[in-house]
Symmetry: C2
Subunit: 104 residues, 2 copies
């Protein structure tokens, strides 16, 4: 089951990465927690993390490979994967990957 | 002055138009009003309206031309323009145009 909505204060300005291959909006929940909702379009990209992140798929899908791994794994609707802080992951998307990014 | 945040329930799945040249997320306000927050990346696009729309710039800028007009006009941060229902407008963006779309 996927999370359909997040309630909070959404930043009206988007975060645009990789020339628009990844676009997200930051949402601040009532308790102050920040998350982002976004989409990755067809591409193969490498993201670096500061804080640890959990990527939760809410539509479409991706394959991802964590730093230090040789294994591409699939992630689809309702599935999550975790990335340590100060690390990186590769992600490849064939159609679209809609996600919630949880920090910390 | 630009609106920095919108409080409500944001749809976690993005709306992707024109192969990603326009990406938005729908936000439902507590009173049930729907708006969207989005970004248009460098492109020249034509959008059709169903309901009337007001486009409010919250970052970057664009030029737009309403159906039936020959005049390109600029819209920057804090500025709005209105499009009638069942009409269309052309928009061209050199860098990025971050917006809130108000419906009805």
């Amino acid at each position: 089951m996927t999370i359909q909505t997040l309630s909070g204060a959404v930043n009206t300005a988007a975060n645009v990465y990789f020339g628009g291959k990844c676009v997200s909006h930051t949402v601040t929940l009532p308790d102050g927690t920040k998350k982002s909702v976004g989409v990755i379009l067809p591409a193969e990209l490498t993201f670096n993390t500061g804080a640890p992140e959990v990527m939760e798929c809410v539509g479409g899908g991706c394959e991802y490979k964590l730093a230090g791994s040789n294994e591409w794994r699939k992630s689809g609707p309702g599935e999550k994967f975790s990335i340590p802080g100060n690390s990186s992951f590769d992600i490849r998307v064939a159609e679209a990957y809609h996600y919630i990014c949880h920090f910390g």
